[in-house]
């Protein structure tokens, strides 16, 4: 797993209180990992903070799975 993926996974586990092995490529934050809409806003903020990037609102809306997040951050960072 890439360094970005490891760091993203750590944030997801911390914020959503889920087991690490549940955070898979296609795991949806809302449907699979128990997040609500406020949790996803906070997750995106945590990604921004961790990677020193800005994720615009329209891009954030498309980040629905763990894989989406890793892909977006890898390209933006």
């Amino acid at each position: 797993m890439s360094d970005v993926a490891e760091r993203v996974k750590k944030i997801v586990v911390e914020h959503l209180g889920v087991e690490e092995d549940k955070v898979t490529e296609n795991a949806s934050f809302i449907d699979d990992l128990g997040a609500d809409s406020l949790d996803t806003v906070e997750l995106v903020m945590a990604f921004e903070e961790e990677f020193g990037i800005e994720i615009p609102d329209d891009a954030a809306e498309n980040i629905q799975t763990f894989g989406d997040a890793v892909k977006f951050i890898t390209e933006a960072a």
Partner: protein
């Protein structure tokens, strides 16, 4: 009018987490005051407070993980955590956990706070100045709003009845219980979870009350001596934190399900001083009218009162309340026991009226008045027994509990044995 009884109690206090633990330490004359441990208080005029003892949950300590999942704790201010913990205790104590939607709709929540998420607001403001507005958490607002204890408790237990909150400074807890009882009397609900919570022991909270000259400052060497209501050497209140929550229930509803009944809510009075934003009116007129209204609603006279749980904050205002109680009681004054449990717990602001209502109810249950500790050298003479430094075992059938707040807002509650 429908009768209202108390069927559940919950406490998080500077003495302990838990009703029996707090009560036994109160009766033993312990103090909850110490140097502030949540943050370094150096530089503040007051460096001590009555903090809820944190720990692993054993021996009366408060362990947040026992009451809320860690990932949820991050989303709420401490006052909500205290409120939810005390509410859980009260609901479990009452045994009332309705699962059908009709019974849930007849169960409401009315929990207030004097100040709410002060520490969260302060921290978020500083963080926003440093890092910009995009760093403000989506949980900041729902984690700091005062009515969110009522919201959290409603969501947790499916209580779909009236969902309400009170903000009346140091009268909040008493107003919440009184208003909730009225909702039951009026038939808007059969069961109400009611009370107050506070967690304002933070830098801006201490600094703010210091600026009002409201806090004790002289007892840094021995904070346990700082809260000393009615004593000549008192110099201000000691800030406390925690929560007190009761389950109020319509009498027939409680009897029908075989609930344990602690006591009966009998009366509730309110008044405004119309005098000053922080100081109580010198003549104690607002206090007197509040107590008189509560007694009238209860259908009682001053001679019926056995124990008064005073507002008694350890400020100069103590003697104003004492004078008002003396005048109200008249010849009965010498037969009344009145104590300030703030001597042990400090002043829990918006939770004070709620924890003191609970202490008043326990005074009826156990026929004992808790002491006013640190009352070594009374500031004034009085015929009223102020229970100095020792609990008083005596007949207690009816109690009166007073709460007075900034803005000149007064509330009094009367409870009695179930007749």
């Amino acid at each position: 009018m429908r009768r209202v009884v108390v069927t559940g109690l919950g406490l998080v206090t500077p003495l302990a987490c838990g009703v029996e633990e707090s009560w036994s330490r109160l009766l033993a004359g312990q103090s909850g005051a110490d140097r502030i441990g949540q943050f370094d208080p150096e530089g503040l005029t007051t460096t001590y407070a009555c903090e809820v003892p944190r720990g692993d949950g054993s021996n009366g300590t408060f362990n947040a993980d026992d009451w809320m999942e860690p990932k949820e704790q991050r989303k709420v201010d401490t006052f909500i955590l205290f409120g939810v913990a005390a509410a859980q205790q009260a609901v479990e104590d009452s045994g009332w956990k309705p699962t059908d939607i009709e019974a849930q709709a007849r169960t409401g929540v009315l929990i207030g706070s004097g100040i709410g998420g002060l520490n969260s607001i302060a921290n978020t403001a500083v963080m926003m100045e440093e890092k910009g507005p995009r760093r403000v958490s989506p949980f900041f607002v729902p984690g700091a709003l005062i009515n969110l204890i009522s919201g959290q408790v409603s969501i947790r237990y499916g209580f779909r009845g009236p969902n309400h909150s009170v903000v009346t400074a140091c009268s909040t807890g008493a107003h919440a219980i009184g208003d909730a009882a009225r909702l039951i009397q009026w038939g808007d609900a059969d069961v109400m979870v009611a009370g107050g919570a506070e967690a304002a022991i933070c830098k801006i909270g201490i600094a703010g009350f210091n600026a009002c000259k409201a806090l004790s400052t002289k007892y840094a060497d021995d904070p346990t001596k700082a809260s000393r209501p009615y004593d000549a050497d008192r110099d201000g209140f000691v800030m406390g934190e925690g929560a007190g929550i009761v389950v109020l229930e319509e009498y027939e509803h409680a009897v029908a399900r075989g609930a344990k009944i602690y006591g009966e809510y009998l009366g509730y009075g309110m008044s405004g001083d119309a005098y000053h934003i922080t100081a109580p009116a010198e003549d104690g007129d607002g206090a007197r009218r509040s107590m008189e209204m509560a007694l009238k609603r209860a259908g009682l006279t001053p001679a019926d009162i056995d124990y008064v749980n005073a507002h008694g904050t350890s400020t100069m205002a103590d003697t104003i309340e004492l004078g008002a109680v003396e005048r109200l009681m008249g010849d009965h004054a010498s037969k009344v026991t009145m104590s300030s449990t703030k001597s042990a717990t400090g002043h829990l602001l918006g939770a004070a009226g709620a924890i003191e209502a609970i202490f008043s109810i326990l005074a009826i249950r156990d026929q004992v008045a808790p002491p006013t500790i640190n009352l070594d050298n009374p500031a004034v003479e009085t015929k009223i027994d102020l229970a100095p430094n020792a609990k008083v075992e005596r007949k207690i059938d009816t109690v009166l509990s007073n709460s007075f707040g900034f803005g000149g807002t007064n509330a009094s509650l009367v409870f009695g044995k179930v007749r």
